[in-house]
């Protein structure tokens, strides 16, 4: 008998093992839900899978009686727009400020303490300030996401730039590169895959800030919806929404990972 640390499951069994916890959780839920509904068919806390599917389908395909809109898609579009703006601006800031601070010694000295300090501020603590300053519209929500994840992305990019071997920067100079050309041809292309990695890690936080700001002040959005129907303990809406949000988050993560592999074939190879 080999030691446990040396025993590896075969491929198929490995996949099945990965699925097992999901199946168990689902089973437990279905059982609990059935037990509760058997006592009281109108119980809202643990709706059956069928009820959730029906609610989700209705939200996705039937116009709302109040507004005439397809609720799920309106919510999704609103949330994704905010998320894309917030994450996009953060990425741009990450590239520009991170490269400046990491490559140009004067800029690094001037910016690093500020970035470190801002990164220490808990973003949700400044949410009231954002609402007061930018109003309760879209801007405050986007700014909250930027405030929450930009410092992290900036610091990651800066660190990556600082990690570039000095030899490379010297080599570029001996080939006649100016500071600008070092940025464009040496630093930027090598930092870009790291930017995508940092963004992947920051996406979780971005969702958190998005849903938090939507919960407080919004008229549509995925976070707004689940906090709205919370008042009616409408689990048949909340649970599918949570699954939907998780699915979206998973897809973006996958997309960024694939983009990294397709666009920068040299990246993984170097780390290996």
């Amino acid at each position: 008998m080999k030691r446990l640390i040396n025993q590896h499951p075969p491929r198929t069994i490995g996949y099945l093992l990965g699925l097992l916890p999901f199946a168990l959780l689902l089973l437990a839920y279905v059982a609990a839900s059935a037990a509760r509904l058997a006592e009281n068919p109108d119980d809202p806390l643990l709706p059956s899978l069928g009820m959730m599917l029906e609610t989700f389908w209705r939200l996705a395909t039937e116009p709302s009686r109040r507004t005439g809109e397809l609720v799920l898609w309106v919510d999704t579009a609103a949330s994704l727009t905010r998320l894309a703006l917030g994450v996009g601006i953060s990425m741009l800031m990450g590239l520009v400020v991170g490269i400046l601070a990491g490559l140009i010694p004067y800029a690094g000295r001037a910016l690093s303490p500020l970035i470190t300090a801002v990164a220490m501020i808990p973003p949700l603590a400044v949410l009231p300030i954002l609402f007061i300053t930018f109003g309760v519209g879209e801007l405050a929500k986007v700014v909250l996401i930027v405030f929450g994840i930009a410092p992290f992305i900036i610091r990651d990019v800066q660190q990556r730039v600082e990690e570039l071997p000095t030899e490379q920067l010297i080599k570029a100079q001996t080939l006649g590169a100016s500071t600008w050309l070092v940025v464009v041809r040496v630093v930027l292309p090598q930092v870009f895959p790291r930017l995508l990695d940092a963004t992947r890690l920051a996406l979780g936080a971005a969702w958190l800030f998005l849903i938090a700001s939507e919960a407080i002040a919004a008229t549509e959005g995925l976070g707004y919806r689940i906090f709205l129907v919370r008042r009616f303990m409408d689990m048949a809406t909340i649970l599918p929404y949570v699954v939907w949000i998780t699915l979206l988050a998973f897809l973006f993560d996958l997309l960024l990972r694939l983009a990294n592999r397709w666009l920068f074939p040299w990246y993984g190879g170097r780390r290996r």
């Binding site: 071997p165 030899e167 490379q168 010297i170 080599k171 570029a172 100079q173 001996t174 080939l175 006649g176 590169a177 100016s178 600008w180 050309l181 464009v184 041809r185 040496v186 292309p189 090598q190 920068f264 074939p265 040299w266 990246y267 190879g269 170097r270 290996r272």
Partner: protein, 265 residues
């Protein structure tokens, strides 16, 4: 005759620590200088001064009679032991980028006919180092020896006045190292290069160079190990080696090498 590199009483100090002291040297175009010495004797510092990464604390360091520029530039090419090539560019682009740095000040990229001519020049250079078969490969797909060939091709694209090699073959297998020696000697002869090469392999220093410099500390203060810096203790035109000199230098510097003296092939 104009000297390509001149040092007049050059010192390098960090605070109270003296790394190099009283260096005097004159180097002519076409010399192949090899530099050996125990680790920490300032040979890399010396190379960094030639590169412009460091400036002398005292004395004069001249390139073709003018003060050495205080930052790296295209007149001095370099090959390091590692990280000399750009990991995000394939072999061809790694060499082509040298042309693009010089000619496209804003975009860093060439197009059309200019690009075709630059590409032809890059291909010629890659052929000279024997990498024609690996144009589209990224550095991580190349062996250590091939990466160094690529780094040499890159450095030669600018026709530098001096070529600086910082233990370029130190990480390679002995067999591969032999091939690289043949390559660098061939390039040095055909392109009339002036080379400064730091090595910790005394045998390599004797075999490759036309002139061997040994860096060592002459003065020692046991209570303040950094009070005195290293100096050039031997400056030997290689080829006229007296018997026993090899052993003498080996014993004084403590460099680990086989005991036989290698004559230049």
């Amino acid at each position: 005759m104009q000297m390509i590199v001149t040092l007049r009483n050059v010192w390098k100090t960090y605070g109270r620590d003296v790394v190099l002291e009283r260096l005097n040297l004159e180097v002519r175009t076409g010399e192949f200088i090899t530099i050996v010495g125990a680790s920490g004797c300032g040979k890399t510092t010396f190379l960094r001064m030639l590169l412009g990464e460091e400036t002398p604390s005292r004395g004069e360091l001249l390139l073709e009679g003018a003060p050495m520029p205080a930052e790296p530039g295209p007149d001095r090419g370099v090959v390091f032991q590692k990280y000399s090539v750009f990991p995000h560019l394939n072999a061809l682009d790694n060499v082509l980028v040298a042309e693009e740095f010089g000619r496209a000040r804003f975009t860093g990229r060439l197009f059309g006919g200019v690009r075709r001519r630059a590409r032809a020049k890059a291909l010629e250079m890659l052929e000279a180092v024997g990498l024609t078969h690996a144009l589209k490969k990224y550095p991580h797909e190349l062996s250590g020896g091939m990466q160094q060939r690529l780094a040499i091709a890159q450095a030669l694209m600018k026709n530098p006045k001096i070529l600086l090699l910082d233990e370029p073959f130190g990480a390679l297998d002995p067999g591969i190292r032999g091939d690289m020696h043949a390559l660098i000697l061939d390039l040095w002869r055909r392109r009339r290069l002036t080379i400064f090469m730091v090595t910790h392999d005394l045998k390599e220093g004797f075999y490759l160079g036309t002139r061997l410099l040994v860096f060592d500390k002459v003065r020692h203060d046991p209570h303040a190990p950094n009070a005195y810096g290293a100096n050039i203790t031997y400056d030997i035109p290689v080829g006229r080696i007296e018997p026993g000199l090899f052993e003498e230098i080996r014993d004084q510097t403590g460099l680990p090498v086989a005991a036989e003296v290698v004559s230049r092939g």
